[in-house]
Symmetry: C2
Subunit: 337 residues, 2 copies
């Protein structure tokens, strides 16, 4: 097969540069398959906050992408050629397929998805890492209880919106923080959260004081920075903070540490982080729970789909700016490729 | 009784001033007792890091000391007059007795101590809040396991030295961080820790890399600041951080938040604070465990005893500077009073 493939590579670590300067598109031949490998046409590529960690050479939860390599990304695709005993042509797979139109993978590095259950792209959003991250972070670490006050930052984002709905479905009072009136309307009107705070136009601290006069039982943090400090100041005694991410800090050379972190002592707070590495063995549980909610409408998963691999640099900036509305995906354009 | 008593009052919140300007000594008459009250001669007053939180008007784990009031402090003393059904003249008590030579207390605000078991001042150090804080922080939250690598900051300090020994006795490899060669020698030679790092003369990060090449399982933090960041960078996956205090930050208007806190996500770390409020019901357990260790010599509790209430302002500065060697106490001078 002499398929011409499009790939987006990271030419160098960005350091202090704007990350968009590091992306480079190449057109290559699809490599020959070896035994145990499959070739796939990739239909959707996922743009995730985790990428910011993969393009630095700091110690992270995964080895960094090497300069010159194809950018790492989750994707879904259909197998078009197979020398694997486990995966056949026509099967759909997900995993780190990369920012590219096609790729060759070892069969043990990818896993099949049940596209008869849901459209393939949902395995990159509500039924993918996004959904699992929301599910385990909120339900296994956060453990919201009925009538507790739960605050979620970046609540209109991919993970935040799922996490907020899961807390709401568990009976908690949920306050979402998001940027802009439209996102806030989405939180209260579509997702039925109890309240929303617009961090772009409102005084977050004053609004939290109004909405949570008895303080916060559980804070699910996706943003870090000032909002984390404002939440720390308002945690209930023995409150819990789930540290899922810090989108406000990923583009900073030195992140802003939470100046109010001593509230962890004063209020006997537990602050916990996690990565999906802790939970891969429990993915079937998440898929089960999430697919029920997504089917019966008690969980809504919004997707923001960009067209074509060329949109990747813009999409990555959009993610950092919080300009996307829902899980950010690229639909790979196989017509014009 | 017309006992003349000496009291040290906080005249105002220090704000940005050096705290020593706010202390004021007064000589007052001992108030008349009401029913249910006792009067005590106070023999020892404890100087604790927690005091820094009591002299700000920020939200803390206790209400702040009010301007003009006698400074709050733990103490031990003997009852010299009683209108209580529960406490008699000659009984010894502990509690928030204040920085003063004598005081009148409601009997339910103090508790008796068994001075036949140990000298009274030990109930302010190894068998007091210091010991309990080390015990519950290390053994209930930290839970060191055999062969784990445990790092303790301010390891020659009152709480740190007890916490480090408890981890060592639990079978962990314990690295203590302290300021100065003498303190470091104390850690390895007297307390038998596995290693000590002198933060005043050594490169802490490089030494941690040498001593804990496979990273840190458990970090018991008493100091905050740069050392917390250096530890965060070197935590093992699923490592635990016990946040006991941040002596390096208490005199700062805006504390330095840990810039490396995103390691909490990357390394799936649990960072937990606590106050003794969570554990008051379990104090007998701590007294039992600690008194066995203090008796058989497997726990060593060093005390740094200052003479006379007038030494309080110096003692408080000494604590902030880490200049004390062991639990800082004042022996009240009743001869010259």
């Amino acid at each position: 097969m002499d398929t011409k493939i499009t790939q987006i590579r990271m030419s160098d670590y960005p350091g202090n540069r704007a990350p968009r300067e590091i992306w480079q598109t190449t057109h290559d031949a699809l490599p020959e398959l070896r035994d145990g490998q499959v070739a796939a046409r990739i239909d959707f590529v996922s743009i995730d906050p985790g990428m910011t960690g993969w393009i630095t050479d700091k110690r992270g939860y995964m080895p960094p992408v090497r300069a010159g390599s194809v950018m790492r990304a989750f994707g879904v695709g259909e197998i078009i050629e197979s020398r694997s005993d486990n995966l056949a042509v026509g099967d759909w797979i997900t995993g780190f397929l990369g920012v590219r139109s096609h790729g060759v993978f070892n069969d043990k590095d990818v896993r099949p998805i049940a596209v008869e259950m849901a459209p393939p792209e949902l395995f990159l959003s509500g039924l993918g890492m996004t959904g699992y991250t929301a599910y385990f972070g909120m339900m296994d670490i956060g453990r919201p209880q009925p009538d507790e006050t739960v605050v979620v930052s970046a609540a209109a984002g991919a993970v935040g919106s799922m996490a907020a709905q899961l807390a709401k479905n568990a009976g908690a009072r949920v306050i979402g923080i998001a940027g802009g009136a439209e996102k806030c309307r989405y939180l209260t009107e579509t997702l039925k959260l109890d309240a929303a705070i617009d961090y772009k136009s409102e005084n977050i601290g004053a609004r939290l004081d109004d909405l949570a006069p008895n303080h916060i039982d559980l804070y699910y943090d996706n943003v870090g920075g000032d909002i984390l400090d404002l939440a720390l100041e308002r945690m209930k005694y023995r409150g819990r903070i789930v540290v899922c991410g810090a989108i406000s800090q990923y583009d900073k050379e030195t992140p802003q540490g939470p100046a109010n972190y001593l509230q962890i002592v004063m209020q006997s707070i537990k602050m916990q982080g996690f990565t999906m590495r802790d939970y891969m063995h429990r993915v079937p549980e998440a898929v089960q729970e999430l697919s029920v909610g997504l089917k019966d409408g008690s969980l809504i998963c919004r997707q923001h789909i960009l067209q074509g691999l060329d949109s990747f640099p813009d999409g990555f900036e959009m993610l950092l700016a919080g300009a996307n509305e829902g899980k950010l995906l690229i639909r790979v354009d196989h017509q014009s490729a």
